[in-house]
């Protein structure tokens, strides 16, 4: 497959390249990661709240990049456990205000260089997930969460899972595509509780 690609790039066998799906995924090595990191440091610059510290990879990104998002089990489990330990679970009920949660689920703001620093971020939930049957404009990159609480109930374990998954999805599946919304500082503890309410409250449109 890799060889076919090289031929394509060289333009040697145009007919073989035209239209046919080509496996383009590179296998990134340690050297590649160092090269890309240096390129990002050279070719990107801080703007607004988006500082250059953001190009520094952490253990999760390193392992997922090295293994094309399918990391070896043991190494993955160790980092997942670290990520889980770093989640700050609040005491008591994790159910916030479901109406505020709905607004947070709708909002795609936060952490972009165009967003005012200090302005409340959103969860961008609808970008990728279906939640309420009333909202027809939903993305499909993540699974549908329609009836999330109806299926699972709203008990303490479910609350904890929902809170943790929003706070840091990588604690549950290391190379999950979902942003670590609490860990990255996109959402506050209260905002995540509000989302948990939106997901679990029996009166939430998600569960109607």
């Amino acid at each position: 497959m890799k060889r076919a690609l090289q031929l394509c790039v060289a333009g040697a066998v145009l007919a073989a390249c035209a239209g046919a799906p080509v496996e383009q995924r590179p296998v990134l090595s340690e050297n590649d990661l160092s090269e890309i990191h240096a390129v990002l440091k050279r070719d990107f610059r801080a703007r607004g709240s988006a500082g250059m510290a953001r190009v520094e990879p952490d253990a999760v990104q390193r392992l997922c990049n090295l293994h094309d998002n399918v990391p070896p089990g043991e190494a993955a489990q160790a980092i997942e456990a670290e990520q889980l330990r770093a989640i700050k679970f609040p005491e008591g009920s994790l159910i916030g205000d479901r109406k505020r949660g709905q607004r947070i689920a709708q909002s795609g703001r936060g952490l972009q260089w165009t967003d005012a620093p200090g302005e409340a971020g959103g969860g961008s939930c609808y970008n990728c997930h279906q939640l309420s049957p009333q909202e027809a404009s939903f993305g499909t990159l993540g699974p549908s969460l329609l009836g999330f609480g109806k299926v699972r109930g709203a008990g303490p374990e479910t609350q904890k899972y929902a809170f943790g998954r929003i706070y840091n999805s990588k604690a549950y599946s290391l190379c999950s595509q979902m942003p670590r919304l609490g860990h990255s500082g996109t959402l506050t503890e209260q905002q995540i509780k509000d989302l948990v309410a939106y997901l679990l409250d029996p009166d939430s449109p998600v569960n109607k």
Binding site: V9, A10, G11, L14, C17, A18, G19, A20, P21, V22, Q24, R25, P26, L28, D32, L33, E35, I36, V39, L40, R42, D43, F44, R45, A46, R47, A50, G51, M52, R54, V55, P57, V60, Q61, C64, N65, D68, N69, G110, L111, Q112, W113, T114, Y126, N127, C128, S137, F138, G139, T140, L141, K170, Q177, P179, R180, S184, G185, T186
Partner: protein, 269 residues
């Protein structure tokens, strides 16, 4: 409405340029053209005209136009130039896309400073940037020409390789790579379908229609803007305009989509 505003701005510029009485005939012709364009409803053609005027306008300390700028097909040759970019340029010893090459010509031929030529790279609905007007004009001169970026020089191959790696590399506070959105067939964000741009089938029609007019915000957008705005949404710091990283991504996408006859500037949602 926006289209009319663009047309009006363009007409005002034409009026100003034709202030001398000897140009009355030209002005009449321009007004006819303007009316025709409004009738046909193509703002891109207006942008192309403004781009052509900018291409021919003497500017900078050297007081020369861009007409001797070599976009890869020889000085001043526009036909097919866009379809053959990005490519390696020996005089700069660097792979360049259209926008990088135009910056190069503005600085080396016209003697303008980097600060001046990069001051307003992205325009708005009221007025495009110089780069956007020029891109509209130059890209349109490649209509019907198969997209065929440079793939033979070692620096062209290195650019492709870097772009390919960047496409799949996850980074930033949201752990995103290009594949976070453009990695799986049949997915969408909200209602927006997402092409898997590492696949030739998806890349071909996309790369053959940039730069493009965006109907949703009445703006004209270039490939440099597209990559810039993706990284903004990825929550990354800002990629430097016309940097090697941005050109490498464009190189990867254009090579992936090569062979498609160019049919832009396009119209996007």
């Amino acid at each position: 409405m926006h289209r009319l505003r663009h047309a009006a701005a363009w007409l005002a510029a034409a009026l100003a340029a034709a202030a001398a009485p000897a140009l009355a005939q030209d002005l009449k012709k321009e007004i006819q053209k303007y009316q025709q364009m409004i009738a046909e409803g193509s703002p891109v053609e207006l942008f192309e005209l403004e781009g052509e005027a900018l291409w021919r306008r003497r500017q900078g300390p050297a007081n020369v136009s861009l007409e001797s700028c070599d976009l890869g097909q020889g000085p001043g040759v526009l036909k097919g130039a866009y379809a053959h970019l990005p490519r390696y340029f020996a005089d700069a010893d660097r792979v360049m896309d259209l926008e990088a090459r135009l910056l190069h010509c503005m600085m080396t031929l016209q003697g303008r400073s980097r600060d001046e030529v990069t001051k307003r790279l992205f325009g708005n609905e009221d007025r495009l940037s110089e780069m956007e007007y020029l891109s509209a004009y130059i890209a349109a001169r490649s209509q019907g020409v198969a997209m065929s970026p440079g793939t033979s020089h070692p620096k062209e191959r290195a650019s492709y390789e870097l772009g390919r790696k960047l496409y799949f590399y996850r980074a930033g506070p949201w752990d995103f790579s290009c594949t976070s959105c453009h990695g799986e067939e049949g997915k969408r964000i909200r209602m927006q379908d997402l092409p898997v741009l590492s696949s030739p089938l998806a890349a071909r029609p996309v790369m053959a229609t940039w730069p493009a007019y965006r109907v949703s915000n009445s703006q004209f957008k270039t490939m440099q803007w597209r990559i810039n705005d993706c990284y903004r949404q990825m929550r990354m710091p800002e990629p430097t305009y016309a940097s090697d990283a941005t050109i490498a991504l464009t190189m990867f996408l254009t090579v992936t989509g090569k062979g498609e006859p160019y049919r832009g500037p396009g119209t996007k949602r």
